[in-house]
Symmetry: C2
Subunit: 646 residues, 2 copies
């Protein structure tokens, strides 16, 4: 074997007579079977039916029932000890759920009692269908905000209260239908397109929008803008300074400070979670007593007013599937559905990972979806697993979905007997509760982390944030998702190609820009393509490879090395090609032939191999002397056949 | 080193005490510089300015002028010998361009003379600006069809002839503006999204639609549907059987057969290209003489009628940038612009590859764009490099863009002196010329090739085809592009992960499904991820890897092998990650920690390495004993530390 002198030492480890390994085509599989595999990987990556394999018919029935209703799985093994834990956790989240339910309903421009209704029925449904042990179900701030603001674009929630309620329930129905369909059709990966960066920017923006809306309650303003953006709200606040009520402001300020302090304590010492969990209820009780005692409602402090006792009335007759608002209702359902689903699934996955159990995303979607469909017929609006409440639930020691049942029963008792007590609850304290709840959505450390790791993700995050606070909640979200997808498409249009060099003393070849010691082999241009080759990038790949070759030839001339003879393409990382990709190989081969260069392919994976074999020029492209399993073997073998021009 | 007995022979080539290579982080580069590199790779992959490097100021000026006007580059070296070849080629394509120009203008519902105008000015502009030596410029069938059909949706070309002409010129202006902008902003890769499969389906569909439209002329029908679809045209043809004119049909049939036979001869014997190139003009002359001699225009054969002598009138005052049709005009400009650009660039690239010279895509876009902008002010409609005419140009021995000038001069002579001769040219012969021209767009062998290589691409092709003939030209195109992009997105959402095994007698690890001899190493799960890790796929990757691990553990139990201890992720093919990707590694690590499994990373590329290092858990993920340069080294080293449970 002849090795050019200058680089003698780089090829030390490659020995004469070493065995050369053949590249194999994968075993033949019919198109139908391939389609089946592809569909399975796309829609059933978790292989949900694998536990059924090899079981008896009776066992299959039991497993099937348990699969459909997870309560049948954990119910029989449920212990008294777990029950005790769940009671504590359930009561704790109920103390949070009641004030938050009322507050979030107001955020959605709905009567406060709808918030309590929504904390009664959906948790019961989820307890039967859901597979997370930590999810605490109920209304959440973002979905409430989005539903309220979208419906308010067309309907006035004060003057057309019944219509607004009808549209809210119908939107909830569509949200649930959409969620359950995603799960049922196994299209859950759609929510993956809301990236972490998008969500962080979006939630921070939404938190600010929600907090700004609370200025109405916190300042006691009665004539408030209907718009959501930063600019109109701020200008509205300062236009109506004559409506500011000092009693309200003072009260709001006190409770806001109290709530923020308790929140801070619980963050610092997670064991004291019950302090922040109990604070909202305590605030409601204290403020209500205060208003009652001092008749503050006569001094400019607005109160909730009379609430009717009784459980959820049925509302299936309020669902409207026709009329001029149908488009709005479906759109609202889609957006609130996807937002609440994203939150619910993320929460479920987070706690499942903490406790090391599995949550089936698609099954959770069906559970959340059905819970909303049933909710929409029983006077509930959109609910999901809330992050803050689930964290409290987890910290309080919840063992199973029974804590949701306990919470639900507590809310039921409240609905049946305690409603008159809320009559004098001031709206300002609800505002303070909402602000405290949403402030946790602004995650500055995560934003800093994103800045540190990936500048482009930071831009996506910023777009989501600015879009939400300056344009609108939906458009901010759409812009961020659009940019994320564009980035991915751009990555495909401009795939990475790197030049490989030999790591001295080995037969390893690596990127010469990453490994300074990696050395070029004279006479060889070794490129690794790191993306699927398809219609969107063959032009670029062609241009780029031609440029590499020209650069390489120019360099050879100036350095008087032996001239370029072989272009080795390492295809290890080419995970797929299409027909355009096949023609790319033909083109590049023709270009190289014109320059009397030899094209050598290394390690094509099964699919690439197969498609190249099926094309007409396969014999030419797949000649045994130009197809190798590793770059090292290719270089060793080709060196021995090399002509020497220096 | 302890090696489990059962697999002793598989690790034969890995020797004790072998050197272990370190994974290196790439040299530090500032974010700004990285952004610059990224932007350069995205927008200037061909590095157009590299020839300017290290040149004197004067040389730079000359190179700059040559860059802007390619004629300055080849002009001075132009020889008499090339000129002789170009005259022959120019006259040949002129004989094709004149009848085709008239025919395509009729296809676009424009007066026939506009087709000749469009074969006069644009070729002159292209000769100065264009860098292809083979492109023959003029009107083309698909852009003519699309422009005619889109404008006809809102304006009647017969009753509102002037308005229709104004809109056609304005559309041409926008088409040119859009094409030049794409080139100038270096966004040329947008046309890459029209994949080969899409184009083949689209062109076949368009050819059928165009041919169906010719039934009007070929059958002599006067009342014809304005719709383009298969169904309305066929039903219109058979509803109006009373209008069929046997004289027209007979004449059309004869000339169609004649043209198809000549086309067939030229395909079989490429040297006889002049037979098919001259046939259209001969048909026009023969049919005109026939009509003139027998006064066939009085027997139901419709003729073109009187055409005015003279060169292109200026038309800049006919451009309309306001009014109710602006939206339509912009849309028409965009679609015809992108279609004609795709054809022009593809033709330029094809012949450049054949003759082994470079065509700069972005520069070509500017040339084609400016040619259309200028064309729109001189009574021309959309033009580009036509495939059929360029092929004739190439076969006739064209050496440079001078053949376009020769063609243009010939058309000029025609416009000045020969227009009265077309008075008696029958429309039926124009129909026959169009059908013969577009029939070449139906590429059945290519369709079969696509079916053979990639079934999914075949579906895309079919969608484009059926969309065009059943719905509409634009929507068919949009559907096919949408599906292509969706496929690419789906590939990202469901990236490939393969399990690697050791090729016996080497330290090479390859996909165990492709290489039957590749053997699993007990205690190790070796996975290779073959896609960028980002927000769209981390959920899937998490699920999928968990399933691999469970499967592996289950298998270990049944086969009583030593239990799984190490999960090795080969990251060679992970070309990029984002913040979600970083958190994916944290998550997978936590999951593995819970199961007491060790996560080992192999060969992360520079960008991945860097982003992981910047995250907080880097020290944990990047521990030297769990980070290796090759799978072989990782396995060898880890085996020596392995605990044995069998």
């Amino acid at each position: 074997m002849e090795v050019p002198n200058s680089k003698n030492k780089t090829m030390i480890s490659v020995e004469i007579g070493m065995e050369v390994h053949k590249v194999e085509a994968p075993p033949h599989i019919s198109s139908l079977k391939k389609l089946k595999t592809r569909l399975k990987e796309t829609f059933f990556p978790d292989d949900p039916l694998r536990q059924f394999k090899g079981q008896s018919a009776k066992k299959k029935w039991i497993l099937g029932a348990q699969y459909a209703l997870p309560i049948l799985k954990w119910g029989p093994e449920y212990s008294l000890k777990s029950f005790k834990s769940d009671i504590v956790a359930g009561l704790t989240i109920a103390s949070l759920a009641i004030p938050q339910g009322i507050s979030y309903a107001k955020l959605a421009n709905l009567p406060p009692i709808v918030g309590l209704y929504s904390s009664f029925v959906p948790p019961l449904i989820y307890a039967v269908l859901g597979s997370s042990r930590d999810l605490a179900v109920g209304p959440v701030s973002i979905a409430s905000l989005v539903m309220g603001s979208m419906l308010r674009q067309q309907v006035n929630p004060v003057t057309e209260q019944v219509l607004f309620l009808q549209l809210a329930f119908t939107s909830t129905f569509f949200a649930g239908l959409f969620q359950a369909s995603l799960g049922f059709l196994r299209l859950g990966f759609i929510i993956d397109f809301l990236s972490k960066a998008t969500l962080i920017g979006f939630m921070a923006g939404a938190a600010i929008i929600v907090s700004l809306q609370q200025l109405k309650g916190l300042l006691g303003i009665t004539h408030f803008t209907k718009k959501m953006g930063l600019v109109p709200v701020i200008s509205s606040v300062f236009r109506e300074t004559n409506e500011w009520s000092w009693q309200t402001i003072l009260m709001g300020f006190c409770f806001l400070v109290f709530l923020l302090v308790t929140r801070h304590i619980s963050i610092k010492k997670p064991k004291l979670f019950w302090i922040s969990a109990g604070a909202p209820l305590l605030s409601v009780i204290l403020s209500t007593l205060f208003v009652f005692a001092f008749k503050a409602q006569d001094h400019g402090v607005s109160v909730i007013g009379k609430l009717e006792k009784g459980l959820n009335p049925l509302s299936w007759n309020m669902l409207q599937f026709h009329g001029s608002h149908l488009g709005l209702v479906i759109k609202t359902g889609l957006i609130t559905g996807i937002l609440s689903l994203t939150e619910g699934i993320a929460v479920g996955r987070t706690f499942a990972a903490l406790k090391n159990y599995q949550v089936d995303g698609n099954k959770e979607m069906i559970a959340i979806g059905l819970m909303n469909v049933v909710g929409s017929t029983t006077s509930c609006y959109v609910t999901t697993g809330a992050f803050s409440r689930s964290a409290v639930n987890h910290n309080a020691g919840a063992k199973s979905a029974v804590s949701n049942i306990v919470m639900s029963v507590t809310v039921m008792v409240t609905l049946l007997f305690l409603m008159p007590l809320f009559r004098y609850t001031p709206n300002v304290v609800l505002g303070a509760i909402i602000v405290t709840a949403v402030i946790g959505l602004i995650d500055l450390p995560a934003a800093y982390q994103i800045w540190k790791i990936d500048k482009f993700d930071f831009i996506v995050m910023l777009c989501a944030f600015l879009g939400v606070i300056l344009i609108s909640v939906q458009e901010g979200l759409a812009i961020a998702v659009g940019i994320s997808v564009l980035k991915v498409l751009l990555q495909i249009t401009r795939p990475k190609i790197v030049m490989l060099g030999n790591i001295p003393g080995s037969d390893i070849f690596r990127n010469i820009h990453q490994y300074k010691e990696a050395a070029k082999i004279p006479g060889f241009l070794i490129l690794s393509i790191e993306a699927p080759i398809n219609f969107a990038n063959i032009t670029y790949l062609n241009d780029r490879i031609s440029r590499w070759i020209e650069d390489c030839e120019a360099e050879d001339k100036t350095q008087k090395q032996c001239a370029l003879q072989f272009v080795i393409l390492d295809l290890s990382a080419v995970s797929a090609i299409d027909t355009s990709g096949v023609s790319f190989f033909k083109d590049i081969r023709r270009v190289l032939d014109k320059k009397s260069l030899e094209l050598v392919l290394v390690n094509p994976i099964g699919e690439v191999m197969e498609k190249l074999l099926r094309s007409d020029d396969a014999n030419d492209l797949m000649r045994p002397d130009t197809l190798f399993l590793t770059v090292g073997e290719a270089v060793t073998m080709l060196m021995s056949t090399m002509k020497h021009h220096v």
